[in-house]
């Protein structure tokens, strides 16, 4: 990459420019472009294997791009400026950029050797340098917000999947991210536990100015909470519209057949 450094406009939180990602010979993202505004809640839908999760993993820097650039909050994430040109980001650059982004995983990934409270305080103490007291106060507030103030001293294994996922949400929020990535956060949950997690997320989306990028198969949730829904197939955005429009009058045949399949399965 040797494009001149250009400052993106401030009303864009996430910007993908011709992003390419391959796994071996398999091209997952082919020159993908899209952007997300600050505070927006954007949901990605589409068949499995279409690359939705890869987008989140690139933003979380768990994967690196093979081409194109990613910017977050006006700064390059995938690249850095050196001598007037852009070069792929090194680990140090990633480390500073990553702090602005949080992620909630399908499998929760709580640390089983720590109690609930420490799961939430660990990163603020170790990565942001908060005092233990400050971090604990913040953690208690967040755990209260996700409805788990009585589980502060529990071990993750003592919690239901839904409770674990709500701890994971509190844990991600404790880092005060600008962007929160939700990777199929209800897919591993028993059906009766899904609603609790989704209502917590709705509340957070409503009350904070965090920018959300969400991959989900919960179409009703996507419809309720999203500002925008992107239909994704074969490494490309094939439709991008407000939820009411996309769910009721999809413009593309591919979107229509996908929604039919998903909604049929749900019923």
């Amino acid at each position: 990459m040797s494009e001149p450094y250009s400052s993106p406009s401030s009303d864009v939180m996430i910007q993908f420019d011709r992003v390419v990602k391959k796994f071996g010979d398999h091209v997952v993202l082919r020159e993908l472009d899209f952007s997300v505004k600050p505070g927006e809640f954007v949901t990605l839908i589409g068949p499995s294997g279409s690359g939705k999760t890869t987008i989140l993993r690139l933003l979380m820097t768990l994967e690196l791009v093979d081409g194109g650039t990613i910017q977050v909050g006006g700064e390059y994430l995938s690249h850095m400026e050196r001598g007037g040109s852009l070069v792929p980001a090194d680990e140090r650059h990633l480390r500073t950029q990553r702090k602005r982004i949080g992620m909630v995983f399908q499998q929760f990934n709580l640390f089983p050797n720590m109690r609930v409270l420490q799961n939430v305080t660990e990163a603020p103490v170790r990565a942001l340098g908060l005092s233990k007291a400050e971090a604990e106060q913040r953690a208690r507030e967040l755990l209260d917000m996700v409805g788990l103030s009585d589980k502060v001293d529990a071990h993750p294994t003592q919690l239901s999947g839904g409770q674990q996922q709500r701890v994971a949400i509190a844990r991600a929020l404790a880092m005060r991210p600008q962007v929160l990535l939700l990777d199929e956060v209800t897919s591993a949950l028993d059906p009766e536990l899904v609603a609790g997690v989704l209502s917590v997320l709705k509340e957070i989306a409503r009350t904070t100015d965090i920018t959300f990028l969400c991959v989900t198969h919960e179409m009703q949730f996507a419809r309720d909470v999203s500002d925008r829904v992107m239909m994704f197939d074969q490494g490309q955005v094939i439709e991008d519209a407000p939820p009411d429009q996309l769910f009721t009058q999809p413009a593309h045949e591919r979107t229509r057949s996908f929604l039919h399949a998903v909604i049929d399965r749900a019923v």
């Binding site: 979380m60 995983f105 640390f111 089983p112 720590m114 660990e122 880092m175």
Partner: protein, 218 residues
């Protein structure tokens, strides 16, 4: 068989000294093996350039040659060559430690690999510093699971201490031999030495099996 109780009891003080040496060798050698094995496993996992390949070759080399030859080589060849003279006991601790570290490093490796990828990813997503990921997240989960395997290696190490006679370390079996050399009676001291090994190894292996049931095996 003709068993002389009086002689057996007479040889006990000498045997007790040897038992103490055996236990010291095992405890110190094991601690060394636990630590060095962990260092080996972490170097390989992190993939430190050059060092990682060196550790790999070193581990393979040590595992493919007998401990007895390593002890000989370290004591009679390497130490004079580099102008160092360690006591037989210290040499024994080091060689037991190094030899078993190559086994414990594999044990740790398996334990670390058994930690789900999601743990590393969550730690990365939360910007937790690398050293803290190891000490706060990975090792506290990996080490308890490998304790039974470490215990088993400690027991085999314990039973291998007699070969340090090669460099003159007098452990329990070698004191039995010494006791026998004076009187040409070997049945009593050897039997007692054997009983000693049994009395330590057997309960230890029961303990390890209990531990296995508690933590599950890797």
């Amino acid at each position: 068989m003709d068993w002389d109780w009086e002689y057996a009891i007479d040889s006990l003080p000498l045997l007790a000294e040897g038992m103490l040496v055996t236990i010291e060798l095992t405890v110190l050698g094991a601690l060394f093996a636990y630590l060095l094995g962990l260092v080996f496993a972490m170097i390989r996992r992190v993939g430190v350039p050059v060092l990682s390949q060196f550790v790999y070759l070193f581990v393979e080399f040590i595992r493919s040659t007998p401990l007895l030859i390593q002890v000989f080589a370290f004591y009679y060849l390497l130490q004079p060559a580099i102008g160092v003279k360690l006591s037989p006991f210290l040499t024994g601790v080091i060689m037991l430690g190094v030899h078993y570290a190559t086994y414990t490093s594999e044990v740790y490796r398996a334990g670390i690999e058994a930690i789900p990828k999601g743990q590393w990813e969550a730690a990365r997503a939360l910007s937790i510093p690398r050293s803290r990921v190891w000490t706060g997240i990975i090792l506290p989960q990996a080490v308890p699971r490998v304790l039974p395997a470490l215990g088993n290696y400690t027991i085999s190490m314990f039973k291998e201490t007699p070969l340090l006679l090669a460099i003159g370390v007098v452990d329990v079996l070698n004191s039995a031999k010494e006791a026998g050399a004076e009187t040409f009676r070997v049945i009593e001291p050897y039997t007692l030495a054997g009983v000693f090994f049994l009395l330590v190894s057997y309960p230890a292996s029961i303990l390890v099996r209990k531990l296995e049931r508690r933590v599950g095996t890797v």
